[in-house]
Amino acid sequence: MDVAMTLGAFNATFSEEFINLASEAAASTSIPELVFSLIIYFLMATLALQIYREVSKIYSFMEYDGLKYFKNAFLFYGFANLFPATLTFALLLAKSSASATLYLLAVVLLPLFFLTGLSFLFAKVNLLSSIIWKLVEGVVRTKTRRTLFFLSVMLLVLVDGAVYLLVLAVAGNYLALGYKAFIFVLILLLIRSNMRSGEGTKTITHPYYLGLILIFTLSFLGNFSIIIEDNHELVGYALDFLTLIAYAIILKGVKKWSRILLG
């Protein structure tokens, strides 16, 4: 079968709009931008997966459920960065303007968007579950209740997204941001309560929780992009850079504690 026949078959499968969407996506960014994004996504995925590996070691020893959610969160953050890295790579290939690579991009574009969104959702639900766990661990004892707990947190995250969009549509940008700020403060209070719970008044010697707070802060700051009209790209780079810092802080802490606990 020759190339022309193969492309003909693809043409029959994909509508012209779909191919146009792929070529527009490829045309809207420059090669240096794509290379830079590819490096950033790859770095973030590597750090997140390294955190997952280290926390898994600690989890296999202590088997604490709160930690299971924490480790899974970083597995999904790893995936959530690997999928856009693949997409960026496909865009780079499509830049070569060969028709076959454009068709390849058309094939992977929507599935990768979908998988990235799904990974971010699961990462967020797992991270939130890990900080809520201490509050509910006394009640959520059976496997069924654990599943129900996880599904409730997922519902909470989805409802939060729906409420945000509703407020955004009805009351405008600033009230929507106010709503997000309220949720952000609740999360900070939850982290604070975790740090103060338990016996004794031991002070925290290494503030690795700042990495976690930074991830939630960035998730909150991401909402500001709707009111920033200029310098979108600059804001995006800044958020990526801060995410890398957050992952680096967490990885440093996890590696240190892994040495202490398993060494």
Binding site: G66, F70, G138, R141, N194, M195, I204
Partner: protein, 93 residues
């Protein structure tokens, strides 16, 4: 601990393991239930979980009687408990 403050799940596990360790790693289920300050249902649940995770084991003792003893994993868990709690606090978990 503050008076009347509820113990967390980890604290209960630590208390059960400490009671077993302090009795030379051999204690009858009845005695362990009394010292662990739990209801019978909760006690069953926790001990089932600890056995499942390989932290304690139920051994036959002098014929029909049985005793709980600490496994190597349970002893290590107890040794590292304080560090693990510090790890969780460092991360706000």
């Amino acid at each position: 601990m503050k008076p009347f403050q509820k113990r967390s799940r980890l604290e209960i596990i630590r208390d059960i393991l400490t009671v077993i360790r302090d009795s030379n790693s051999s204690i009858s289920p009845t005695k362990l239930l009394r010292f662990s300050n739990l209801s019978y249902q909760m006690f069953e649940e926790y001990l089932g979980e600890l056995e499942g995770k390989g932290l304690v084991e139920l051994k036959p003792y002098k014929g029909k009687r049985k005793i709980y003893s600490l496994t190597e994993k349970g002893r290590l868990f107890l040794e590292k408990y304080e560090d693990f709690v510090s790890f969780l606090r460092d991360f706000g978990l």
